[in-house]
Symmetry: D2
Subunit: 433 residues, 4 copies
């Protein structure tokens, strides 16, 4: 987790204080359930809630852990300092550390997913607004980096919206994947604890009981979660790459917003670097790099080994914090992205109508010219444009062999941009409903 | 794609003949739609179906492609050889190659997903059957490879069932991700083709129209698809690893089925190697290795570049063929896996009751012994077991300090395996309903 | 392995016939060594060489393997068909299959490395030739896709040369990593075979004896090999990306060679797509995807498990064939890359001198103007260029506040391109010696 | 970077204070070189060294950066606060931020590599000592987790030594890869700074001048560096996995050292978990996960984009800190690993001589028995061992058909462990020289 690529809300989820708070809640809810089952006295269960408003002292717990060498025991010892050892003695009864740790991890991941969903909503809102704004802003579509046919900037935003919207749905599914808890004991048999405790704790913590666990919650869930974040990160890179291309000196169809006060820009006004989108490209790699270790974590020996743990200590916070930051950076970027419609037109016209050559070719054929002749006619005029810098439409209108087949109106019509944008509304309806 | 790790059904999906058949269907359905729109004559559309029962000549198409250097044109030329160039002239009108290629890829991936779902169903059926069979077959649960508490072999199968069942649901979602088609033209604007054509073709091919495409269908869909296969592969490795552990000489709780006639086994009867599950471990890596390039494929320049194509030519067939093979190998393995319940008991009793020490400790404490004293009592008897090979229960029954607190019945009860299996039915109900 | 991305020489290394030939040589050399040690009769060793010129019948071996279910035994049986069972009976004595298989794999990888080195040499030669050709061809250097300061096309080629040359040295080291053989028996103790046999076979096959093996050659060697190929692939992508950028419509500083006859180009002369470099981008991903499974292959259980094998069956041929093809595609691309020096100048001058603003700023400061004043002077003239399309040098020369500090000659000197290229020879000497 | 998986020495390399110290040294040495070239006054260069013993105030630099939004400028401003703005004005002249940042990164990586080499030396020393100690400690070799032939624990340590020694040599090469510096200006042309400055600074900082750079040092170097760390991490996992297997309850041939005072062990003496090696398995994944983003970082647009930067901010420290910690954890583990030779013998004898069946088979054949008969004889005795728990040697000696061919001495000789260990010295000489 790199401070400069972090937002406080997501960081907070992964702070020790948050973790201890979740541990406390799990233990307290478990006591409630056990009391209800008659396994422990109701009074002791009630007493645990005395610590309801306590902010646990992380330094003190660390101090105890330095002695006990066991994090959960250290916490329980500290808890006893708040509620008294007599009342604390039934806390954690029949449970194993993993019951608390794994359920806590999933609470944290679930909360992280909620924040990520907020981030995606902000990105979606921005994309939608900009799509509407530039629905009819014509620009050249490019395949292989080469001019192809006209499209609109609104369609570009709209397709990113559709992609992010798929990402959002994937994230909802991924959140569901890891929204489970387990209080099932040393090897998952509930030998020492009733399944009812698990049910109560999960309900209280906003989770579903894991149908079958071992000492741990199965890690295919987490693999799916991180794989999904990796896909979303790749979509961020996709958008970032489009902006980076649009901002390059020779294209300049858009620029990342550059505040008036930002130093150094005015003496070299062309030197506004798309550093936010380049950064997003790197952040996407950082998010993606958690996918492989998460997949490798799925295989555990028998009822558990602890190889997954160090991996999750790293990728749990790092990946969610980075993606959260990236989503908000992306949203801000889109919200303020400066679009240059005139440059779009200038770029499209760079080859003075040549992008329309396919339409002319088709028109000639449809009007009865043989494919070979049509090709020859288009080619000879195209070459004048390409080699001598002439205007394609003008050349066609001056070519008697062409005008013998197509009228001036018919030729002019081929250069009508409306031809290319006539289905934009249809597509928008598909995307935005 | 390695022949020995391939099943014919999946291989067939990726054969050139299949591809050309799908191309043909897309073109023919597109003609139908265009005829209905009045864009091309009905008669020509009808004529295309004359080739309905043709098996296209792959070698001939290759021959043409060697000249035209363009695969779709080569196919269309060959199609014309079947239906006549006059009737063929409207085929593909207004479409671009990617319309055909991308829609075809998704048809293939969708069919591949269907085969994979069949494979998962077979795995699930095998796991369920074996879970039921061994619901009450007690074995020791292990954390960190070390004996922990008893569980049952049925629970092991059941948790793999639950994991594969999650995998199945993920695969259904992944199939939906790539079950889209696009007939939207050079940059996705439908400039030269009506959206109705796309709708008709997709409906006929069992796909949904891509709401917004560029020249290509967006690759976040494919990334999600391959990421999902990677998670499923990891679950296969998880199961395979369990079997590999069970079969190792010192454990021998299970063995891959070894047919009577298989050579070399009888002179070294202990030397039956778990080669199928080791192989599955390797195959899982092969499936997973498609995840990163699929994620890298998401970013395309503007309305498309072709960097994704070579990647998909490889991972499309390789990954689905390998996973398909792995699923059926896994299913066969589970179906015939030889289980050794007696060895399970022998292994569990290797430490003569020591795995029950925790229960005894708890019982002493609950009976009023201080934590320190209880620990001392358990420890001194445990040490006799560990160091002198005594039996734990016998030692406890002979320790007057212990019997002063716990009766013989109470001590014996702590060694009752039923304590550990009492919730197996509950868990089975959760998993199998 | 995808036929269209394959070269026959590399494919041949991985063909069954080649494999059997290597098996034969290993067995024959082993017999020689055993005869010399007196372990088997010399006559029998000599007899094995009777098959020296035999082309083994792959179909026949497959036929036998279908019965024996063991590839090495099938081969030995077939060998006996050639040299007679009497003479064949000492072949393979004291060896295990892995001795043959692992040594063969490394022979194949070593040969593959040699072919790859040839490919890199071709790439290096091409890069060097083009670097020399365009040593002084000025173009604008870009950071973040934005014009920065002038550089030359020769420097671009030279840095790719230096990168590929590092790659070559890495590949030499990687080749050495896998140029080992092992004939050490079931668990690597030489219990049934003398180490002298290993030494002789390795010497004959161009390998070094593995200092210590188990049943297999340690897989960290192969991991390092494939990791190195992954780095080289990334360098290919780096070069490919530069070309893709150079070819995009708005930049057009270079184009992949497009033969006169290639169809479709003349009607849309701007539509020459950089498909080779886009393809190289995808191929780089395919090569890289072997890195992770190769790393995962390092961990084997005890003296070997066979999880690595299926992975290597795939990535051994696929990765080397793909990289080999990519290197030659890259070399051909560079050799024929069409460079447009005039477009380079036009692009550089797009902002009429603004890229020189930093030098002017510095000159003003050095001439005594305060930093603030210098900035203000540069800025006001830069803005005229940016907003009104004026020429920077002209504006500066017309600004009396500027000319009060800098003479016309001093100002003009700031626009001298020689300033930026004065160390090109120094850099070339560093790179090319 | 996770505190619990960190060693202070490696963490220190990546602290802001260290970074600023390196920046300072680079700037000061650059001033020296520029003074020598006559570009700046010697007095100013000398003055920079006034800050030689200053510990830069990180908080103060952060404060300035909050205003300037530029880290290098913030540092230079702070430096001026120490040496006076008059003397500071020539600092950084003609340089770009990347000159400082990239050279600094490589200084840090080089130092990190040195620490890692120390860690590897400690691992190597531990492996060598344990190899010598257990050179002749016989244990069963296992392929596929199944008993094969005897080997020794010393050979196990020796092969890990050889693997780590290869890793060390790879790391030396990787260190050399990133031990370069660059002071070459905005696009690498030395337009504003003499190459002599680069040479001087690099020599002083222990680096080699990068032969050709752009704005940045090429990232194939860093890719190779991180790929190498990934291979070493995989070797750590390989060793860790061996220990995890050895410690599992049914095998128990070794245990991670467990201090007397460590709580909870005595009541369940069998429950000593191999948590260090499981942790190493996870840490290996964390180290490896940097490989893919490092490979993706190689491709930069034109003379640089900044997408690599965020990746390196994370993997630079995280990967080196984690690997450093893992190496020392591994070394400590090996140093203190508790080996159980008696258990090794017990395990080997679990099948009462069956592992020798291959030798008996061979002896019978060599004594003239037909292969079929020999097989039948071995098989019928092996089956008694396997099914009835008899001793293999005893059965053979009691089988008159066997003793008709082999004398008692010849039979007994086949069970001599010395047969399997006779080449241990040869192998040790190869490994340890």
């Amino acid at each position: 987790m790199i401070p400069r690529y972090s937002r406080p809300d997501m960081v907070a989820i992964w702070e020790p204080a948050t973790k201890y708070r979740i541990w406390y809640e799990i233990e307290a809810h478990a006591c409630d359930a056990m009391a209800k089952l008659g396994v422990i006295p109701q009074a002791n269960a009630d007493a645990v809630w005395k610590a309801k408003d306590v902010t646990f002292d992380v330094a003190r717990i660390d101090e105890i852990e330095a002695v006990t060498k066991h994090d959960v025991i250290a916490f329980l010892t500290h808890l006893a300092e708040h509620i008294g050892s007599e009342d604390a003695r039934f806390v954690h009864q029949g449970m194993t550390s993993s019951d608390v740790l794994d359920t806590t991890l999933n609470v944290q991941l679930t909360r992280a997913a909620d924040l990520l969903l907020d981030g995606m909503d902000r990105v979606l809102a921005a994309l939608k607004a900009r799509a509407m704004e530039h629905k009819d802003t014509v620009r050249i579509g490019r395949s292989h980096g080469i001019h192809a046919e006209p499209t609109t900037m609104g369609l570009t935003f709209a397709r990113f919206y559709a992609e992010m919207d798929r990402g959002r749905r994937r994230l909802v599914a991924a959140r569901e994947e890891i929204a489970t808890g387990a209080i099932s004991g040393a090897v998952g048999t509930f030998a020492n604890i009733d399944p009812a405790v698990e049910e109560h704790v999960c309900a209280q913590m906003g989770l579903t009981p894991e149908p079958i666990s071992t000492q741990v919650i199965p890690r295919d869930r987490h693999a799916m979660f991180f794989a999904t974040l990796g896909v979303i990160a790749s979509s961020i890179e996709n958008i970032a790459t489009e902006v980076r291309h649009m901002q390059r000196t020779e294209v300049l169809e858009a620029e990342e917003f550059f505040s008036k006060g930002q130093k150094g820009s005015s003496a070299m006004p062309h030197k506004r670097n798309p550093v936010l989108t380049e950064n997003l490209t790197g952040l996407a790699r950082l998010v993606r790099m958690s996918v492989v270790p998460a997949l490798e974590n799925v295989t555990l020996w028998h009822e558990r080994d602890i190889s997954h743990s160090s991996v999750e200590r790293a990728i749990g916070p790092d990946t969610t914090v980075t993606l959260d930051f990236a989503l908000h950076r992306l949203a801000g970027l889109i919200e303020k992205l400066v679009i240059y419609p005139q440059n779009m037109l200038d770029n499209m016209n760079k080859f003075r109508g040549l992008v329309m050559s396919q339409r002319v070719l088709l028109a000639l054929t449809q009007a009865g010219t043989s494919r070979e002749d049509a090709y020859r006619l288009v080619q000879r005029n195209a070459m004048k444009v390409w080699e001598e810098g002439k205007d394609f439409q003008t050349e066609l209108l001056a070519d008697s062999e062409v005008t013998a087949v197509l009228s001036e109106d018919e030729i002019r019509e081929k250069f009508d941009l409306g031809y290319h944008t006539k289905h934009v509304d249809t597509i928008f309806a598909r995307v935005f409903g």
